[in-house]
Amino acid sequence: MSQTPVARLQDVTKRIGGRTIIDRVSLEVYPGEVFGFLGPNGSGKTTTIRMMVGLMAMTSGDISIGGHSVKREYPKAASQVGAIVENPEMYKYLTGYQNLVHFARMNPSITRQRIDEVVKLVGLSGRIHDKVRKYSLGMRQRLGVAQAIMHRPKLLILDEPTNGLDPAGIRELRDYLRQLAQEEGTSVFVSSHLLSEMELMCDRVAILQKGQLIDIRSIRGETGTAAKEAGEALFEVDHPDAALGILQGQGSARIVDGLLQLTADRDLIAETNKRLVEAGIRVYGIRAKTKSLEDQFLEVTGGETVG
């Protein structure tokens, strides 16, 4: 991509008491992309986000947002960012609306109309004048999103945004983030340890483990090419052993978890199916074994869950 990045992390390092929590992390987030920040619990995702929004100081390296250094020009950098860091903690003794007014006052030029618009957008119109104390976690999450997008930030940072949301809420949030990225050109930086979710939501994903960036990969690109090239195909058949005998000629055929698996492109899959059916094997299903992000993730992190 040739665009100027909205956020740039350069060799960001954080040491606390001799322990390196974040080790020379460098990455760039471009306009209008949904960037996933993936890592097992304790890998340093939240710490990185805290440094991006100025809640924590960096030991070395620098982060710039919209070209402004978080270290040296914090107010300028912060004016381009909307964020929820961990849980969206609001003032419980204020109403949802009062909370929004509170945060709106801290940014220039947020009108009352804009607040109303955002309230409608996150679907809180009916309850916005209730005290936050009475909100469910999902409603607080929505209010959190509202305060984060109110000032139309160039970069939206969400730390584990689907925590506590029900499936409908997760889906709604996902659709909304994509819409925000596509229609308003907002870059979204989302952290999560839920792989499947990141797969659905993000354009690119960075994988963090033990404070080190292991990999940055584009998600959309890979799933697009998978169909044409040879991949692993799985056949669900009534007698896998017999089927394997029929396919002796094909070197890659083997049985995995009771399924017949072989490396094949589209034509070979059809051909194999024909051969099996003609030999009297009942074929119940055929599917391509795509490598999910989860497999890739476990592959690069070596299956570790806590870094």
């Binding site: 809640l55 006052r105 801290m106 305060q147």
Partner: protein, 269 residues
């Protein structure tokens, strides 16, 4: 840049939209009314002067107002850390120093409001029920520099000195609140400072005559004693100017600690 006043407005909103604040204000209003009404009902002598009663009630209420302001101060910083709202507050396009300043100013405004309400009600009820003529020789001691002056002038100075003491205690609590982020510790230590301070220096000054005692914070907070022609520690040579200078040094140190810790510290948890 947006108006700094909006930040103070935010802090005010967080103070005055809480029921607690109005209960505190209610107490400051009710205490003088109750005390004076009960006094009028049970007292057999009619020698009471409204100004005397006002000064007595004010001295009690100032301890209370100090505690109230300390409670609000500890909530203002430590409270935001414990609820986690500090994160959403600090990611706005403002420097931390400015945000802390808006909190500090809202506290001073709070204490000024409460002191004004206290002045108004302690004067109002006592003037109404006990009478407050312009002759108030009983409330102003003969030794006072204000002897012969109007009781208004005397009481105004009394409030000013009490308020300076309050500011010191609140600044101390603000420092604990921002340095340790513990509301309980901040309230506890400040109340200790308020009540035990005078006792501690009293004991020290009675048992030793080391000159450093007069540089202790507690030795200088009781500014009202200068008003009556005395000094907080009668055994030492101290002047109002000296005490104000000592308090100013403490004031600067407390605030320097509050700001430097608040600006540097990582916000985790």
């Amino acid at each position: 840049m947006v108006d700094f006043w909006k930040l103070v407005q935010n802090e005010n909103m967080k103070i005055y939209l809480r029921l607690r604040t109005w209960i505190m204000l209610g107490i400051v209003v009710l205490v003088p009314i109750l005390v004076t009404v009960i006094y009028v009902l049970v007292s057999t002598s009619d020698s009471a002067n409204g100004w005397d009663m006002m000064k007595l009630q004010s001295s009690i209420l100032f301890s209370l107002i100090t505690i109230f302001t300390v409670v609000v101060a500890s909530e203002s910083v430590a409270g935001e850390f414990s609820t986690g709202t500090i994160k959403l507050l600090l990611i706005r396009p403002w420097s931390r120093a400015t945000i802390l300043l808006s909190k500090y100013i809202s506290l001073l405004l709070f204490s000024i409001l409460f002191s004004a309400v206290c002045f108004l009600f302690t004067w109002g009820i006592n003037a109404a029920l006990l009478g407050a003529g312009s002759d108030a020789s009983s409330v102003i001691p003969a030794t006072s520099g204000y002897a012969g002056h109007s009781p208004w002038a005397y009481m105004s100075m009394y409030y000013l000195y009490q308020w300076i003491q309050l500011v010191l205690v609140v600044t101390f609590s603000f420092m604990i609140s921002s340095a340790f982020r513990s509301g309980g510790l901040s309230i506890g230590l400040s109340i200790f400072l308020l009540f035990a301070g005078n006792t501690v220096t009293g004991i020290l000054s009675a048992t030793t005559h080391k000159p450093w005692i007069k540089y202790i914070l507690f030795s200088n907070t009781d500014l009202a004693s200068y008003l009556d022609g005395g000094s907080p520690l009668p055994n030492f040579h101290m002047t109002l100017g000296f005490s104000l200078a000592v308090l100013a040094v403490y004031f600067i140190i407390f605030n320097a600690i509050s700001w430097s810790v608040f600006m540097k510290r990582d916000v985790a948890a």
